[in-house]
Amino acid sequence: MSDVVLRIRDLDVTFTTGSGEVPAVRGVDLEVRRGRVVALVGESGSGKSVTSLSVLGLLPSTARVTGSVELADGEAVRDVVGTPEEQLVDLRGRVVSMVFQEPMTALNPTMTLGDQIAEAVLNHERVPRAVARERAVGLLRSVGIPEPERRAGQYPHELSGGQRQRVVIAIALACEPQLIVADEPTTALDVTVQAGILDLLRELVAQRGTALLLVTHNMGVVADLADEVAVMSGGRIVEHGPVEQVLLAPEHEYTRALLDAVPAVPPASDRGSSDRGSSLSRPGSEVSGVSTGSTGGVGSTGGVGATGDGSDTDADPREVVLDLRGVSLDYRVQGRHVRAVERLDLTVRAGEMLGLVGESGSGKSTAGRACLGLLTPAEGEVLLLGTSVARARGKARRRLLADVGVVFQDPGGSLDPRRLVGESIAEPLAIHGRDGRRLTAAEKRARVRELLDAVRLPAGAERRYPHEFSGGQRQRIGLARALALRPRLLVADEPTSALDVSVQAEVLQVLRDLHAELGFGCLFISHDLGVVHELTDRVAVLRAGRLVESGPTAEVFRAPRELYTAELLASVPTPDPAAQRERRAARQALAPVPGAVASGAAPAPGAAL
């Protein structure tokens, strides 16, 4: 088998469900060689995860598998298809192992990290328990966990998501398998943490010669790590080739569409040569100082900071729909107050889109909740259309909040599954009426149809239930509901982060069109810098509850003034392999220790909601 460690031939996987046979994978051929990274990309439902699970024989019993999945086991070749479970147990972990998507749940919560790693060793080698424990500590050290001796005795909940993913990788490495299957290993992580994990995986492949089958939907991750790419769609591989070829000169239409849908941040090479400031300030040195924004010695750009103090003198004639003035927000955790947001100043004007970006735990969602009147600030004021939300009471408050629409992250969870879509959309109309009077049933129906049309859903959608729609359609339903009352401010909290890229592109297009047409102000909360770059006029960067930097999106992204913003931007992988190499170099120059920016730190308690 020379140096081929995995050879998939004509793999077919069919699931038997209550409603018949559902084919998931059809005729997949794939080879992975020693020391190579092969990426399997595609959108949800393309069959990429099913293919990856079939490599370890981990498919559920409802799956029928044909074809062959051959693994090189020393001199021997073992076909996973048709091998009984007892023999697969011997292959798993020793010859092939796996890293999963969700580090928060991938580890046993009641077992120490050391024991979980040691178990992998003990499964395949006859060594004393103490030796296995020592190996576990060594593995923790090799995946970049600080104080491995102490960490080995800890439990998963004591570590941050990025660190847990490192532990999962340590488990996968324990018996030095020839092949690691990584199923969306960084999807659940913040960009800076993702960059650290990608660096770790790259090192492992380079140093140990382990082959990696990388399953992902993120083209940037592919460009960062992969040698070869196989694009899957509808259970088939539609395009397969070296990474440069597939990403830069895609042949198949689907690959092109997929790449086009990826929102991008401007290339790293544009950055650094900034006219906005002579040098980047170190984060932490003056963090509270920068929250008052663009006054810090950059005279030429004083006008761009439309936030905080600057907004009063700003010449922009558009009405301010949302104004946060020195807002601090607290959470109660075990009876203690934990500050989630510290003296935040933000302004959103009518017809403007403000992007609020930051990593998990940065307080961006908390700030969004305050704008909706769901949280009362501990300090400062939230002004909606010039009126303080906290001081408004009763009817006045309801009328004020009727001018705010909201779209949440989870398109399924925010719609009542037992209500017709039309009823859900009409609910705000029923509660608030229009111009102080109730709407007749016919008026409501007409408005619902108008809204569904605006979000490009077919007529008749109002008489169906949420589960009959796809994720992207559901999110558009949520958007229709948010716009039912013609709000003057829309708060969108990660509206597309649960969606596939092509679906995300659709939803964003609808949002963009409606925004242009209706002219509401929009607070767009997102961790995805690419989306924010494509969509918003201005951006505010949050970190640990404080405003790090704000200004016109194009300027901030092209020439960030703060080191943290620069690190954040450099951490976003771009789908161009050559450009990604440059970005990586730029990022590593910014943060000397790979992944040090955030991966080591557990999120501040309470700050992450």
């Binding site: 919560p109 009641t110 909940h157 004591e158 080591g600």
Partner: protein, 345 residues
């Protein structure tokens, strides 16, 4: 990584709060325990107030209850004076509380015995009966539930589920009679009467007589908890960590025994804590049925004869036992699941 480089101040800032939960998780077990005990004391206090208030709100009060409907006003006044019932309610409660703390629960109106003596005589036996039932039940229910979950939707699973539902819906007294009829009258395997005697040792000396009462107490618990265990195990079998364990080459058997079992026990242990009062209720029926001289019988006769000091004492003891039981359940849970040790409850 970050802790090693304080110069990267941003990382330190983001992680500054991290040591707090870690510390709480490690050194916090004692604090968790103290807080839970204090909470438990408050609950007991509230229960005692409620019970006291309820009993005094009865028409005619305790005096009428003891002396009967024919008692004259003078008799009642004399009884009330003798028992301190003519004092303000708050004072009565406080003196009751003060005496309770020193172990003096008053004198029974009818038994010619102090309440604490009456309870001290019977409580250990009830604890023995319910404790044995519980242990037997858990020893059966946990493996059965796990087995059912692993064999989900197979014939075995359906049969065991059916059996559990039948056992669950059978009233305890009927189940007891059925067991007496089958195992005692027909098969003659075990005696129908529970062990008699004053001490625990005496009761334990007749193990064959204990079988039927323990079994009667255990069967409904087995039925309930095999269901809990089955669903908890099923939930856990679908968890991501099970896939991780399988991906590193852990066999199915070991996955269930080492990973799933412990995680599935946590919700079941919590349910056991809530189940304790139900078990005391069950003991009432079982003791009555097998004529077993425990708290249930004592409570039963005291309720029938309006022996308020005994009732009050029983309720107090049972509520203490219940609160202590759920406290124990919490502690066991904290031992099983490190995440609950932070004292979030």
């Amino acid at each position: 990584m970050t802790t090693a480089i304080p110069a990267q101040s941003g990382a330190v800032e983001a992680g500054a709060a991290a040591p707090a939960p870690v510390r709480a998780a490690r050194g916090g077990f004692g604090r968790f325990l103290i807080r839970r005990v204090l909470q438990a004391l408050v609950v007991i206090l509230v229960v005692s107030v409620i019970v006291f208030a309820l009993l005094h709100a009865l028409p005619g009060g305790p005096a009428r209850g003891v002396l009967g409907q024919q008692a004259t006003e003078e008799q009642i006044a004399a009884f009330e004076a003798a028992n301190g019932l003519d004092q303000p309610v708050v004072l009565q409660y406080l003196s009751f509380l003060g005496r309770s703390l020193t172990g003096d629960l008053g004198e029974s109106y009818l038994l010619n015995q102090s309440v604490s003596d009456a309870i001290a005589l019977r409580l250990p036996k009830t604890l023995l009966l319910t404790g044995l039932s519980l242990v037997v039940a858990v020893l059966i229910a946990v493996p059965v539930g796990v087995y059912q979950a692993v064999r989900r939707n197979r014939a075995v699973d359906y049969w065991l589920s059916t059996l559990a539902i039948v056992a669950y819906s059978t009233p305890t007294f009927f189940l007891g009679m059925l067991l007496i009829l089958l195992l005692s009258q027909t098969a003659g395997l075990f005696p129908a009467a529970a062990p008699q005697g004053t001490g625990i040792a005496e009761v334990l000396a007749q193990p064959d007589a204990l079988v039927l009462p323990v079994l009667t107490g255990a069967v409904p618990i087995v039925a309930t908890f095999s269901r809990y265990m089955r669903s908890a195990t099923l939930d856990n079998l679908g968890e991501d960590y099970v896939r991780t364990a399988r991906a590193k080459g852990t066999g199915r058997r070991r996955v269930v025994l080492r990973h799933v079992l412990r995680n599935s026990l946590t919700p079941v242990v919590a349910m056991l804590g809530y189940y304790l009062p139900v078990m005391f209720g069950g003991a009432l029926v079982v003791e009555q049925l097998f004529n077993y001289p425990g708290m249930g019988l004592l409570f039963w006769s005291a309720a029938q004869s309006s022996d308020f000091p005994v009732l009050l004492g029983c309720v107090l003891v049972i509520s203490v036992a219940t609160v202590v039981g759920s406290l124990l359940a919490d502690v066991v849970q904290a031992v099983l699941d490190p995440r609950t040790r932070g004292g979030l409850r």
